[in-house]
């Protein structure tokens, strides 16, 4: 049987001290990678506490920008190519300088759209909120959430209490 336990702390310092103990492997089987931190703001030094965690949004932004350039230029030039049968009066069928303007706009449009879609997908939003969600997290408290085995549940709660946890919420999964 697994327990999901969330400790609510009154500030970042206490939450970080609790995470530091988890990092020091005070509870067997638990690592810092199992920690989910919930906070009203993003702490500037969060990576020093939780370690490097990936955010792949920029890759999708790059993909969007490349798609935008390709789509923009192909759309314009294919539309302009329908005029091949008409006399151009010496002007190019596909004029590069003017097409660059609209291709650039498409680059930005698709770059932004891909960025937003990847954010919504990768950040785990657009799904039902955790049952352990506490409204105080959006106010002024910091939550540390872990999933532990039955045998470690009490040890984790004691660890939280050592660091002046304000409230502990728990559910059995």
């Amino acid at each position: 049987m697994k327990h999901r336990i969330m400790g609510l702390f009154s500030d970042f310092e206490q939450a970080f001290e609790a995470i530091a103990e988890i990092r020091a492997r005070k509870i067997p089987g638990l690592t810092v990678d199992d920690v989910t931190l919930k906070s009203p703001i993003e702490h500037p030094e969060i990576e020093e506490v939780l370690g490097e965690r990936p955010a792949h949004v920029p890759k999708f932004t790059l993909m969007g920008a490349c798609f935008g350039i390709t789509f923009g230029f192909l759309m314009l030039s294919s539309a302009q190519a329908t005029f091949l049968v008409q006399p151009q009066g010496g002007k190019p069928v596909v004029p590069l300088p003017t097409n660059i303007v609209l291709t650039y706009e498409m680059l930005i449009l698709f770059g932004v759209l891909f960025t937003v879609i990847s954010f919504l997908t990768l950040s785990g939003m657009l799904r039902k909120r955790d049952t352990l969600y506490s409204e105080t997290v959006s106010l002024d408290q910091v939550g540390v959430l872990l999933e532990v085995d039955d045998k470690n549940a009490q040890a984790l709660k004691s660890l939280f209490q050592r660091h002046k946890v304000v409230e502990i919420r728990e559910e059995v999964v």
Binding site: I46, N99, G143
Partner: protein, 467 residues
Amino acid sequence: METKDINEQIKWAQINKDVLKSLVNPRPAYWVAVAICLLMLACAVTAEVYQYQTGIGTADLDWPQMWGLYISTFIFWIGMSHSGTLLSAILHIIHADWRKPIYRFAEAMTTFSLMTAGLFPVIHLGRLWNMYWVLPYASDRGAWPNFRSPLVWDAFAIFTYLTSSALFLFIGMIPDLAICRDNAKGWRKKLYTVLSLGWAGTDRQWRHFRKTYLLMACFLIPLAVSVHSIVSSDFAMSIMPGWHVTTFPPYFVAGALYSGCAAIITLFIILRYFFRFEEYMTIPILEKTCKLTFVIAMAWTYLLLSEFITVWYGDDIPAKEVLMDKLTGTYSPYFLTMIFFGSVLPFTLAVEKLRRHIPTMFVVSLLLNVGMWLERWMIVSPTLSFAYQPVAWSVMWPSIVQWAIVFGSFGWFGLLFLVFVKIFPSVSMYEVKEMIYHRRRANVEDQAMAYHRRTSDPQPVAELPGA
């Protein structure tokens, strides 16, 4: 004298309380403003219905004055849209944290200005039922619009800018919408639950949020510059005297930033009063905005003078004639007023005493925007009045229909804005919390440095000042 951008002792819970209170409890003046905006909008709707039923001739838009107040005001609103998103993005990238209490309403201003600007080409068409003609699509003969034309670029650029800035506004608002969701009841709770998209404040969400916001800011800066450069190309790429000017793109961008900054000052003062935001929209932040506006005003003045000098020393006689007519002819009262409001009045922003006086800044910011609106009119109309053919020279005073629609567009913008700030938090709660958190930490670090200690060292209480 208030010198700190924000009171660092405000509790986080207090920030939520103050901002959420603004959504339900504005001063009565808010409702007066809504009523005024509705009246102004009613003027525009009446005029538009009349124009629709009678014909575009009622607007006195006739050759050679085919572009009158509608296109001038279109450029004005596009310009107005620039400061919000552009300044927010630039200040975000350079970590200027004083933007945090004011960027939300500035970004909203961008979105609503663009929505207002988008109405004008449609109104200008006259035949509203053919409004889809302004969109780039292939006709039934398979002919596409001319992609070489700046007017087609406009459609693309404005669509891209509106989409991107609306998304930038929305994404930046998600953590605050979650706060609203957690505290609201009834229809508001349902609305915020949907719009907050399940935000729970996890480290994973914050990590992706930060990256996304930064990337969008990086995209929006060149986009905003490109949009007004493209709008300036509507003129600069023609061969009309007074329009065929190389400095038009930077001149338009500077003008756009200028009017946008002035509008930020106006809305700053209005919101501060309506929602009792004295703790967040502080005098030092107003001062910083005023200083920024002054710098942009001077850049705009420099570019205006460059335009005069380019025309004066060039060998384009018709362009010189248009310039001389602006200075001494029929349009001179408006042109000189524009110069006074645009280049002389901003010096009030350089005086500390005036900068800190809210009623003065309110009046000055309104007059700066009057100047910027006149600037757009003085770009469009004099050239059309005195172009190459003397036979076509004519001055056409805009009809009451044009004036009413232009006047009403301010009501439309105001109404959208006032509804927005009543439903969504106009001060970013999570960013203000971050600002306070960082400043408190910085203070502790400064204190520690003063005592040659590291922040992590134990603080001997007796050594701290005031202990």
